[in-house]
Symmetry: D3
Subunit: 129 residues, 6 copies
């Protein structure tokens, strides 16, 4: 199932810590796509914009980490963990992968990150049914 199909099912979201109940993996996805776009453009940038790319990538990866932590610790409940015991590890690895995107310049790092977020998003969608 392609990710872009996931959101046909029903509107899914949630993210502040009132909590407002609005959570959406799309927040992490948008930032991760931004990282991928930055890394894709990187080789053709001039030196000045290469430097800018590095600092923007750093910021975007930090946002991915934040949005994933919010989903993990604010949205998911013990009953979800029972059904999806791999969740802790999935988030841990995805957040670590966001750090890898800080440390590296290869587009593949962003692809891995996107794939990991998409897997989380699929479980998220399952839990919203």
């Amino acid at each position: 199932m392609k990710f872009s199909n996931l959101f046909h099912i029903k509107p899914v979201y949630a993210h502040c810590d009132l909590p407002c109940g609005v959570y959406d993996p799309v927040q992490a996805q948008v930032e991760a796509k931004s990282i991928k776009a930055i890394l894709t453009k990187y080789p053709d940038l001039d030196d000045h914009n290469k430097q800018r790319a590095v600092l923007i990538k750093e910021e975007r990866a930090e946002l991915v980490k934040h949005h994933l932590m919010v989903l993990w610790a604010d949205y998911f409940k013990p009953e979800h963990l029972e059904k999806y015991p791999q969740l802790h590890d999935m988030f841990w690895k995805a957040i670590k992968q966001a750090s890898e995107c800080k440390h590296h310049l290869e587009v593949e790092e962003a692809d891995k990150l996107l794939a990991q977020i998409n897997e989380i998003a699929e479980i998220f969608v399952e839990t919203r049914k």
Copy 2:
């Protein structure tokens, strides 16, 4: 056409100022939905959480304003303005409406904001075709 259908067409996004080319009105929408959820829950909250709701709402509305400015000034180009001369005014009013969501506690304010963002999103989607 309902908004939730808009994103079936094709993935749409863009938002950092490299620019990475990834823009997505969904960022403003998620925050606006959060404001609506906060205002919907508000009457039933205890005093302490009512105070928290006010400060979180303030923060979310600020994010809406930021995300809208990014779309308006970073994504949209002169050729879009030519085709959609109402764009400036639409953004101006939507950003002003985000401020109204700060100033008020009625769910209707969030509904208006969401409607305005959705209209912007429809034009956005048109321009991505």
Copy 3:
């Protein structure tokens, strides 16, 4: 001479979203002048400080964009737009020019930005009379 005389004519300002009513284009101007100063010093900096200059310039330009959005959407009212119909476009272009200051290293980009902010400031002052 007392400092309070420095800002002659009459106090002009406004910027938080209570709204407190204190708005002042000087906030955008200070940041834009900082960008100009950074770009002027840039050629003579060592490599390490050149990198620092790029990241500080990025931050300052972001602040210009923010302060301009606040003036545009929080301070200006429909009656101003009626009298100065060019306002939307002036802000749009000035905010886009702040992005140009992120993308480029030429002092001329900061000069253009400053000129655009000054034009906005003149209208602002007119409206405060």
Copy 4:
């Protein structure tokens, strides 16, 4: 073993994502102690400062969440997880407890949070030996 004794053993730290290698649970502890102090003072504050307390508590709890995520995802490595398989759950619950400190006004919530951070700190110290 009392927590205040933990740091006699050897200096422990680390927290940016270069990574610089400097991590220290004391960052989360300072913020959690601040939450406890705020909640302890809360009943005797006037209404204005009660409101301020709520917003400062919100901010401090967010910092706890951030510092814990950094420790969890940046410092801890697979070999630590193997030795301390309970780590994922400990962090998840501590971060959730930081949210509880946002939602509530009882000092006990801060005590629970501090106890959870201290348990994490003990494992952290073990891994630095």
Copy 5:
């Protein structure tokens, strides 16, 4: 009258830590004026906007503290201290007064803060001659 004439005498500024050399006490003044405006409006606000006023005041006072620290530690040099040995104490008290503006709701607190910043600004202007 052109806006660029408003700031007479000579351009005064400086504030980033490249350093760019652009410093201006007006940054602290704008925020302090905002605090005064907030406190002046406070008694007539409804409960919801009173709560908002408190959080915005908190944020503005924090900005005052930040801008003052920048002036004190980045702009002023040992030769200034020699000529104005009272500078350390003036800044210390002004920053403490910004905290008082957080703790209190009386307009007088903002007046004191403004007076202290203006005294600093006078010395600043002296040193720019």
Copy 6:
């Protein structure tokens, strides 16, 4: 007396502006140690991570400046100044040294900063007895 021994004496802290009463020089120390670690690793990093190091160092130094200002202006009271009249100058120089850590790449700059913070911490500990 070595710094690492200072904290055996008794738990020391304080830092928000409720004020909560929890202040701790360890916050500035952790960031300064991070700067030292970054500068120590710097020569062996690849170009991409050298750029990242510069921006992270910038951020860490800013945090040092912030934490020192908080200690100086929020924690220390007139009676402390009377007993330790050198305090103003110690803080001023330490904050200036944090800026030096932004401007330079030599580990010695971080060492100087750490030494200055440690001297402040010793006085801080004295005042908590």
